[in-house]
């Protein structure tokens, strides 16, 4: 998977509300994202459509609220 460009990264950062971080923190963001990106590449595999995530809504949990 090609590495996310700095421009693309800044778009993602803006969407996350991080566009106004001081420059030193922007550098941290870029550095950390490079490591995250490798993990993301490893989890992005094709899965069956019905493959459910680990945390699904369990209605009985909310019976306790009643």
């Amino acid at each position: 998977m090609p590495e996310t460009t700095e421009t693309e990264l800044m778009v993602l950062a803006a969407k996350a509300g991080l566009a106004d971080l001081p420059p030193e923190y922007q550098a941290e963001l870029l550095s950390a994202y490079r490591h995250l990106e490798r993990m993301l590449a490893r989890i992005r595999s094709d899965r069956p459509q019905g493959d459910e995530p680990a945390h699904v809504f369990v209605a009985s949990t909310f019976q306790r609220e009643g």
Binding site: G17, H35, L36, R64
Partner: protein, 461 residues
């Protein structure tokens, strides 16, 4: 000054041979002697503790002994909310937070008559550390003050090892109970996800957070589990299941149990050091001599467990700390900040994909446990020098503990000897979901068969 386990102290207190006030005075004297160097406490509740000890003493003298925690000094990791007592998460961003309510664990331990001595050092919000740029200095290791006590339940484990308290509660999202238990040579249990309430515990990563006890012996961990395990309707992850008496079958031994060893993990993917491997092999021999059988077990890659957990955790952590990060990033230590800052860039698609991967990995874990009763492996490596870690180590590190957070399975760390430098070595015993009793039974059998509980850190000996 004498060292007591909870079991020993409880017996003497119940027999009125030891007063809770005397026991607290021993702990406070030791705290006064060493904790300015150890840094295991961030808040000491001396007067409150003495008042609680006096009440316990009066109740016991009046014939109203509540049980094995009555009059026993304990502390809580400083992410456990305590009514009227500052709870900081070791963070400058929460330096003045005084909760209005106790967390579930404190409610239960207090009702059992325990004596809360204070709040223990942690890594910032149980995640980033060790750090020198947060609210308090980092805790040190009582076996060697230059060494790392590991995290994030650092102060909890160090205080128990040094005999400053007899028991404690920590949290474990990727190994934060078991790592410090290993580094400090004590016992610590990450229970099954949903067995012990996390209500009132500052979150690290909702989907992987576990609360659990640490103490000097496995028997003491079982005593604490009897108090803190159980359904809490206010923790959405808590499961309503019967809770066994964890002390009842402790001495039943391990004869006939089948133990799996994930050799590929410890030989190829994350090779154990020679000293740790040698101690593990000796521990396996002890289990064989006690009648257990040993076999290899095949597991998915450790790296897969780490990837799924870390992507999920970064997204959840960023959601929790994003407001502070955006408004006052300087209030967070560099270690935590680096570990969460990119979490805001994880898409919903990637988060769900990581959650799907968790399903697959958790299932694989339960399949492995169909043919074995327990899994044995190291809990970690002996403590190294306490120093700042490269920030990227979170992403590159592969350890032996996180897989059991992803699977949700109970996992116990306990002492399995000492390195040539005198630092504790840690054994990890994992079990099937909800079978903490079997895990504790195996740990107790190993402790009884080995001499490791006869030594305390030179700092307090």
């Amino acid at each position: 000054m004498a060292f007591f386990t909870i079991a020993e102290a409880a017996q003497r207190i119940a027999a009125r041979q030891l007063s809770p006030v005397e026991l607290l005075e021993i702990c406070l004297a030791r705290i006064d002697a060493v904790d300015d160097r150890l840094n295991s406490f961030v808040t000491l509740t001396r007067e409150r503790a003495m008042a609680e000890a006096r009440i316990a003493e009066a109740e016991i003298m009046a014939g109203r002994w509540r049980g094995p925690l009555h009059g026993i000094p304990y502390n809580l990791k400083d992410i456990f909310e305590t009514k009227g007592i500052r709870t900081t998460g070791h963070s400058r961003s929460l330096s003045e937070y005084i909760p209005a309510e106790d967390c579930d664990a404190q409610t239960r331990l207090s009702e059992a008559g325990g004596v809360l001595v204070g709040k223990a050092a942690t890594w910032e919000f149980a995640h980033g550390g060790p750090s020198w740029d947060v609210l308090f200095p980092p805790c040190r290791n009582p076996w060697d003050l230059d060494k790392d006590p590991a995290g994030s339940s650092s102060g909890s484990a160090a205080a128990v090892a040094a005999g400053l308290v007899l028991g404690t509660m920590g949290s474990d999202t990727g190994g934060s109970i078991r790592g410090p238990a290993c580094a400090n040579g004590i016992a610590g249990l990450k229970p099954t996800y949903g067995r012990v309430s996390r209500r009132g515990v500052l979150p690290n990563c909702f989907s992987h957070d576990h609360s659990g006890p640490l103490a000097w012996t496995v028997e003491d961990v079982a005593i604490l589990m009897n108090l803190v395990a159980g359904f809490d309707p206010r923790d959405p992850a808590c499961v309503e299941l019967p809770v066994p008496d964890y002390t009842a079958g402790l001495s039943d031994g391990v004869a006939g149990l089948v133990i799996g060893v994930p050799y590929r993990w410890i030989e190829e993917e994350a090779p154990a050091s020679a000293v740790t491997r040698s101690a593990l092999d000796a521990a396996l021999d002890v289990f064989k001599a006690m009648g257990a059988s040993i076999r290899p077990v095949e597991m998915p890659a450790l790296r897969a467990y780490e990837d799924a957990k870390k992507v999920i955790a970064m997204a959840e952590l960023h959601t929790i700390h994003g407001p502070v990060l955006r408004a006052r990033p300087d209030l967070l230590g560099a270690s935590l900040r680096y570990r969460i800052i990119a979490g805001g860039l994880i898409t919903a698609q990637d988060y769900v994909q990581a959650m799907r991967m968790r399903t697959e990995l958790a299932r694989a874990m339960q399949v492995a446990f169909k043919d074995i009763d327990l899994m044995l492996l190291p809990a970690g490596e002996p403590a190294k020098t306490l120093q700042p870690q490269p920030p990227e180590s979170l992403f590159t590190k592969v350890g032996y503990t996180t897989a059991f957070n992803v699977g949700g399975n109970p996992a116990l760390a306990l002492c399995m000897g000492y390195s040539p430098e005198g630092m504790p070595l840690g054994l990890q015993i994992a079990g099937r979901l909800w079978e903490e009793d079997k895990v504790l039974r195996a740990g107790h059998a190993y402790e009884q068969a080995t001499p490791w509980r006869q030594r305390r850190p030179a700092l307090v000996s």
